[in-house]
Amino acid sequence: MEKAKNSSIWTEAGYDLFAEEGIEGIQVERLARILNLNKSGFYHYFGDLNGYCDELIKLHKRKADVYLADVAKVKSIDPDYLMVLVQHKIPCMFHLQLIRSNENSLFYKTAEQIDQQEDKLVGQLWGEYLGIDDHPTLAIRYFNLVRDMLYTRLNFKNFDYHTLHTLMAEAKAVMQQMTDGKELETGESVF
């Protein structure tokens, strides 16, 4: 019991660091300094950095399950789904770091698996949001594109409802511009 409690201090602290800076942010020295603990504890619990990363991934999967359970309850993309994203800001940023570290296959596969679960949950709503609910596969393909766009534009500072709403509205407007005939202008780009 005591062991689990102490090792979770290390993983929680590392989780936040990883979410902010990615794998480069994870240094044993630095974690020990932040926690005011001795490095020997780290090696005792995790063996090495790889063992530690495995634990971070397990923690992320648990947090992703909580996130997905919330996503399963939403009734709309805007505002319900966007509000869930805001509530799970740190796991979302951690997830982004996993995608960026795609040279690591454990990270990449973990992210992909979670994304696929999310696709199933929001595919229908996303189709409704875009007004193409008879075309779920197409809606999901566009959703995947937009989700990756969001990851580039979001950061710890701007990760709020207002930013998400603006970005989603832009994605929807671009799609409408495609369907409304290519010669029509449906408003100015915000970029």
Binding site: N102, R141, T152, N155, E170
Partner: protein, 191 residues
């Protein structure tokens, strides 16, 4: 002359490191070790880390200008532009690191300037590729979404023709399928 040549050694090495690891990768000690030079040279040429980063940005702007000049000389997005992107992998990845570094306002502003230049240069090629007119905002708005998806997914490892070709092919087919959903009411109308 000798001075210029020596400072260029530092900036080229720094540029490579930054492209791989971003700002966090830039440490004077480490650069000195890679170049097998004394740290004093670094301080002599650049004053401090900030001065060095300014030089890196200058170097980046030069490399981007060379890239953009080449863009204006090519006719097709696939395969010419994609091959050009691959042959400038280091510059592309340096740009990706700038985009991802949202904490540093100065670096982020530089990334936006580069995005703007590239966007102007590629506009015609992109719209030709999508088969849409280049005088409406749709092409550029969609380009911004696809580009930011690219920024999320790209790494040195997957910066190859297979990945880029799939990315633009997917983007085009998503647009084509969306455009086909609701044919413009006046389609087929004869004047």
């Amino acid at each position: 002359m000798e001075k210029h040549k020596n400072s260029a050694g530092w900036t080229e090495a720094g540029y490579n490191l930054f492209a791989r690891e971003g700002l966090d990768g830039i440490q004077v000690e480490r650069l000195a070790r890679i170049l097998q030079l004394n740290k004093s040279g670094f301080y002599h040429y650049f004053g401090d880390l900030e001065g060095f980063c300014m030089e890196l940005l200058e170097l980046h702007k030069k490399k981007v200008d060379d890239f953009v000049d080449e863009v204006y000389g090519i006719k097709r997005l696939d395969p010419e532009y994609l091959h050009l992107v691959i042959s400038h992998a280091q510059t592309v990845m340096f740009q990706v690191q700038l985009v991802r570094n949202t904490n540093n306002h100065f670096l982020h502003a530089a990334s936006e300037m580069v995005d703007g230049k590239v966007q102007s240069a590629i506009r015609e090629l992109w719209c030709d590729y999508l088969n849409i007119p280049s005088d409406t905002s749709l092409g550029i708005r969609y380009y911004a979404i696809v580009r930011d998806m690219f920024y999320t997914r790209i790494s040195f490892q997957n910066l190859n023709y297979t990945f880029l070709h799939k990315m633009v092919t997917d983007a085009k087919s998503i647009m084509d399928e969306i455009s086909d959903l609701k044919p413009v009411e006046t389609a087929g109308h004869r004047y």
